[in-house]
């Protein structure tokens, strides 16, 4: 590695003390890791953060990550800032009798949760922390893990974070700071792709489709789309599906919607003098073409999934209305995932009973595509097509060899209740 003097990353007195181990071994290891990552990106300093969102589930950590977490726990690691946790890979409830998750892995996942709590992580188990847990303000620096949370924080709140995966968000939680590179700096936040939106945008799935149209041909973390021409004020759920999809297809961490998001009072402000490297127009026909491009494989057993990101209370309410008095068809399975907070509210509001009566399985604290042993679950249930209103989900789940199909919310419900693949 290059000599330190070629890297300008400056440490203040407290950071230097951390690196000398004066705040304990867990903090020393965390800061040393952050220094390496910061130097890669040419960070010149650290910035204090107010909040962290950590991702630790046994499916993605594996035994390697599990052992690493244990070593952190043994070193008495404690979060210095308010920290919550992302969705889990295990459904601890026994309602979902078609999942058959491994007992041994379930036990490890419970240990992970326990260790996180000891580290002062509030285990909210949610990928929609921005809707239910914490809403950072304009210019506030945070260290969030899940990509959908990052793009929402940067775009909709005007807060500042990079993707902080694996140990990275833990390290930030332990040191209370993160290296200042990427979206912590003004330069990265300026728009680079001009998108003229002429489509009507009638469903969250349309926003996911838009994310695919823009994200797929521009796979670049530092690309920032700027949308102009939006007709009606988009809802939080619309922007959540747009962001999740852009992050999934394009690895994007920020977008602007002119007249809607806080750093885009005008197109000129959104671009901030940066030249657009691409220009696109998206029409109703372009959105329809996305749906048409997904083809069903003829099959008897299929699954409809509302997940990725977890559902808000208003998405739960809408699905309750659509499923009212109906039944999931023979040969079909239907899943919804949400977090514990919304699950509790949905129960109180009677949504869960109505959905249960319709034959829908509601999973809490998980996200569908990160479920442990998902490939085996698919095979055991004989599922071929996975139909979803989430542009993100139909992309993220593909390593498990589902044939994925994107459809609008009401169409997904129709497919679930009739079994007709259309």
């Amino acid at each position: 590695m290059a000599a330190p003097d070629t890297h300008p990353l400056r440490l203040d007195d407290e950071e230097s003390a951390m690196l000398r181990g004066e705040h304990g071994e867990a903090v020393r290891r965390a800061l040393a890791f952050q220094v390496e990552v910061g130097r890669f990106f040419g960070a010149e300093r650290f910035v204090p953060i107010t909040n962290a969102h950590v991702m630790g589930d046994i499916e993605v950590m594996g035994d390697g990550g599990f052992g690493f977490l244990q070593s952190m726990a043994l070193q008495d690691a404690k979060c210095r800032v308010p920290t919550d946790s992302n969705a889990r890979c295990m459904h601890f409830d026994d309602e979902a009798d078609c999942l058959h998750q491994d007992e041994g892995e379930v036990a490890k996942e419970r240990q992970v949760v326990s260790m996180l709590r000891d580290m002062r992580v509030a285990t909210t188990d949610t990928c929609i922390n921005y809707q239910t847990v914490y809403q950072p303000k304009l210019g506030e620096h945070v260290a969030w893990g899940d990509t959908g949370t990052v793009i929402y924080a940067n775009s909709v709140f005007g807060a500042r974070t990079n993707y902080e995966g694996g140990f990275s968000s833990f390290a930030a939680a332990l040191t209370g700071r993160t290296p200042a590179y990427g979206f912590h700096l003004d330069a990265a936040r300026r728009g680079s792709i001009a998108v003229r939106l002429e489509a009507a945008m009638r469903d969250v799935a349309d926003w996911g489709a838009l994310g695919k149209i823009v994200g797929h041909p521009h796979q670049d973390y530092f690309a920032v789309p700027v949308f102009e021409g939006v007709r009606d004020m988009p809802l939080s759920d619309d922007l959540k599906h747009l962001g999740a999809s852009l992050a999934s297809y394009g690895s994007h961490a920020m977008y602007h919607v002119v007249g809607v998001t806080p750093e885009a009072p005008s197109a000129a402000a959104a671009f901030g003098g940066r030249e657009a490297t691409a220009r696109m127009t998206v029409t109703d026909a372009d959105i329809e073409a996305v749906y048409r491009a997904y083809r069903f494989v003829p099959a008897e057993k299929n699954v409809v999934v509302f997940s990725g990101p977890q559902l808000s209370i208003f998405e739960m309410q809408r699905l309750t209305e659509l499923f009212q008095g109906r039944k999931v068809a023979s040969g079909m399975h239907c899943f919804i995932t949400t977090n514990h907070a919304i699950h509790a509210d949905a129960e109180r509001l009677g949504y869960l009973k109505a959905l249960h009566d319709a034959g829908v399985t509601v999973l809490q604290g998980v996200c569908f595509y990160i479920l442990q042993r998902l490939t085996e679950i698919r095979v055991e249930n004989g599922w071929t097509n996975l139909v979803s209103n989430s542009g993100k989900l139909v992309n993220t789940i593909t390593a498990h060899r589902f044939n994925t199909v994107l459809r609008r919310t009401a169409d997904c419900v129709e497919i679930a209740c009739t079994g007709r693949l259309q």
């Binding site: 991702m55 950590m61 990550g65 990275s168 670049d220 690895s251 060899r401």
Partner: protein, 134 residues
């Protein structure tokens, strides 16, 4: 005859290995079976091939925070790639590589996707910011 390609930024120790060149963006979650180390996404340019001990040459990233833990876990399982050579990357790939002690580079002066072929012997020297094809 060997050919050296300058990379823009890099981290980690020097390694040598066999190249596996991808035509599309990569995510360890979307594309890889993380139990077997085999690329399983239907239609992926490397579908059916293992990443174990390979120097992955990848145009760009898709998603995703999975890489933050995944490379470290692949290493513990004995099915990790040797190095990651990216055209464009996101920070998660760097965070995951640093945790796993796996060399990682970003950007190339010449088109590595054309100059490097799957099966070529390559050497990654992060300190020299150099990728050498044997």
């Amino acid at each position: 005859m060997s050919h050296a390609i300058q990379v823009r930024r890099a981290w980690g120790p020097v390694v040598e290995g066999e190249a596996l060149v991808m035509k599309e963006g990569f995510s360890p979650r979307y594309d890889l079976n993380r139990v077997t180390g085999v690329i399983t996404r239907i239609g992926h340019s490397c579908e059916g091939l293992s990443v174990k001990d390979k120097v992955l040459v990848i145009p760009t990233t898709k998603g995703g925070v999975a890489g933050g833990w995944a490379f470290f876990d692949l290493l513990k399982k004995g099915i990790a790639p040797k190095a990651l050579v990216f055209g464009k990357l996101n920070p998660v790939m760097v965070q995951g590589a640093v945790l796993a002690g796996m060399p990682i580079t970003e950007g190339w002066e010449e088109e590595a996707l054309v100059l490097v072929k799957t099966g070529d012997r390559v050497r990654v020297d992060p300190a020299a910011k150099m990728l050498t094809v044997a």
